[in-house]
């Protein structure tokens, strides 16, 4: 049998902040088409895990393999364009229009010409329903609109994996739906996603796999249906009973 190659493989990842061990020993693989929800209580290290995968934090120990190659040895810009990130606080470039937000990376990092970058940006902006706002500034948009633009900005780089760190947590309740529905569409379209979320309905209904983190380790990793109906670990059960 030929083993399917992973897009990302995390091996024995550890991260300390001073004496505080935030990630203790994390290993897992991400395959093409996976939609992985990462759940767990506050402070369990979910954001730190995503930030280490994207090298926004330098891992203390361990390796991250991108298609079998040590990501540290790869060109950072290239790796970043393959592994995109959507933040809780949107982080749109405030000095640029919506369109420029989506073209800047393409031009500067992927060296696409202006026309190609714009076409691509508009394609993804229309996918998230924001192409009409192409000339608006981030400051003129609602939270949900900003997050949809941030998603389009990440998609325009043609990433192979998109990391989401609580993309709806900073939103007013009435805007959560519009962002989740975009993410649902992306998942159905086959995009590989790693989503830290407190939206249990998304984790249960949309993702293909759920990782439950507790105190810096992966406590449980498996099929969403199984985890939500019959968690193996007592601490998973305890967490779910608290949150559901």
């Amino acid at each position: 049998m030929i083993e399917k190659q992973s897009i990302l493989e995390i091996r024995h990842l550890k991260k300390d902040f001073g004496t505080h061990q935030v990630l203790k020993d994390i290993s897992f693989s991400v395959f093409g088409g996976d939609v992985i929800s990462i759940i767990g209580s506050s402070g369990s290290g979910k954001s730190t895990l995503l930030r280490c995968i994207n090298f926004l934090e330098e891992p203390t120990e361990g390796t991250i393999l991108y298609r079998g190659k040590d990501a540290e040895t790869l060109n950072r810009a290239e790796y970043h364009s393959k592994v995109g990130m959507v933040f809780q606080s949107f982080n749109l470039f405030a000095n640029m229009s919506v369109l420029a937000n989506c073209t800047a990376g393409q031009k500067l990092v992927l060296h696409r010409d202006g026309k190609e970058a714009e076409d691509k940006a508009l394609y993804f902006l229309s996918k998230v329903g924001m192409d009409a706002y192409r000339n608006a500034r981030p400051g003129q948009l609602s939270g949900g609109q900003k997050q949809r633009v941030a998603i389009a900005r990440a998609l325009a780089m043609d990433p192979e994996v998109l990391l989401f760190d609580e993309p709806t947590s900073a939103l007013d309740p009435e805007m959560v739906g519009e962002v989740l529905s975009v993410m649902r569409t992306l998942a159905e379209g086959g995009l590989t996603m790693l989503v830290v979320t407190h939206e249990m309905s998304f984790a249960r209904d949309v993702s293909s796999r759920v990782i439950f983190m507790d105190q810096g380790v992966i406590a449980e990793d498996g099929d969403p249906h199984e985890i939500f109906t019959a968690p193996k670990q007592p601490r998973t059960r305890e967490f779910l009973s608290r949150i559901l």
């Binding site: 994207n54 090298f55 926004l56 330098e58 950072r76 810009a77 290239e78 790796y79 970043h80 364009s81 995109g84 990130m85 933040f87 606080s89 949107f90 982080n91 749109l92 470039f93 405030a94 000095n95 640029m96 229009s97 369109l99 420029a100 800047a104 990376g105 500067l108 990092v109 992927l110 229309s126 329903g129 924001m130 192409d131 009409a132 706002y133 192409r134 000339n135 608006a136 500034r137 003129q140 941030a150 900005r153 990440a154 780089m157």
Partner: protein, 262 residues
């Protein structure tokens, strides 16, 4: 000889009008050059001081950066911690006596005010850089931009925009404080005031004129800067382009100006 205050004022204006005018030009030239060059110095210093040094970098690079940043700190502290009038004397006469360099007064004045302003600007620009939300820099890195790309395209444009009021303020301060450079005999306004007053010993009238000129300059510049800021704050409106995917697409809000692309 005039017997009234206004009589003296008009006599001085008549006799020294062109001199006052020249002094005004010198003052403005020194203040503008000092602010522009000082801003460039401050920008460069702040950029250098915010270069990230990874702990994995070579020891030479890490110590090199430490040394550079120490020297820049010394520069900032010394020039902010001593009066410009003293700096002028030390530099001008120091260069003359120990380097055998006889600086031309105007050049020396611009040099002194520039490095003095640079020390203040370095801190202002650094504040501006810090004021830009860290998340945007992370987002820039997350799509693969390098430190320099994110600085150039994301952080600095916003930092500079945020510190515009402080830059304007430095300019106004420079219009006034360039007066201390009269100690190196550059013919800016204060120096002209002294010369004009000397002939008839009419210090009050001469410096009344000088004060009025300074006030007109700073008042005008302050208003102009405020206008400029308002203009930069504009572009709050935008046009929603036609689209099938958005129900609000028919709404058109006319922008005040073009929304710049980058």
């Amino acid at each position: 000889m005039p017997t009234t205050f206004w009589g003296w004022v008009s006599l001085l204006l008549e006799k020294y009008g062109p001199l006052f005018w020249n002094g005004t030009l010198y003052t403005m030239l020194i203040a503008i050059s000092g602010t522009v060059i000082g801003f460039i110095i401050g920008l460069l210093v702040a950029i250098v001081r915010t270069i990230p040094v990874s702990p994995k970098a070579s020891i030479v690079k890490r110590w090199g950066m430490k040394l550079i940043s120490f020297l820049l700190n010394v520069y900032i502290e010394v020039f902010r911690g001593t009066p410009m009038i003293v700096q002028a004397m030390v530099i001008y006469y120091g260069a003359m006596m120990y380097l055998g360099l006889r600086m031309q007064a105007l050049g020396a004045a611009i040099f002194i005010i520039s490095i003095n302003t640079g020390a203040y600007m370095a801190e202002i620009v650094r504040g501006g850089i810090i004021s830009v939300d860290k998340g945007q820099k992370e987002a820039a890195h997350a799509i693969g931009m390098t430190h320099w790309q994110s600085m150039l395209h994301v952080v600095l444009p916003q930092a500079v925009r945020n510190i515009m009021p402080s830059i304007g303020n430095e300019f106004v301060v420079n219009i006034k404080d360039s007066s201390v450079l009269n100690v190196i005999s550059v013919s800016e306004l204060f120096f002209i005031g002294k010369s004009a007053a000397g002939t008839y010993a009419r210090y009050f009238e001469a410096f009344f004129i000088i004060a009025a000129i300074y006030f007109v300059l700073t008042f005008t510049v302050t208003r102009l800067l405020r206008l400029l800021e308002k203009k930069m704050d504009g572009g709050r409106n935008y046009t929603i382009c036609g689209s099938q995917s958005d129900s609000e697409a028919t709404i058109t809000i006319h922008p005040e100006g073009d929304v710049p692309n980058d």
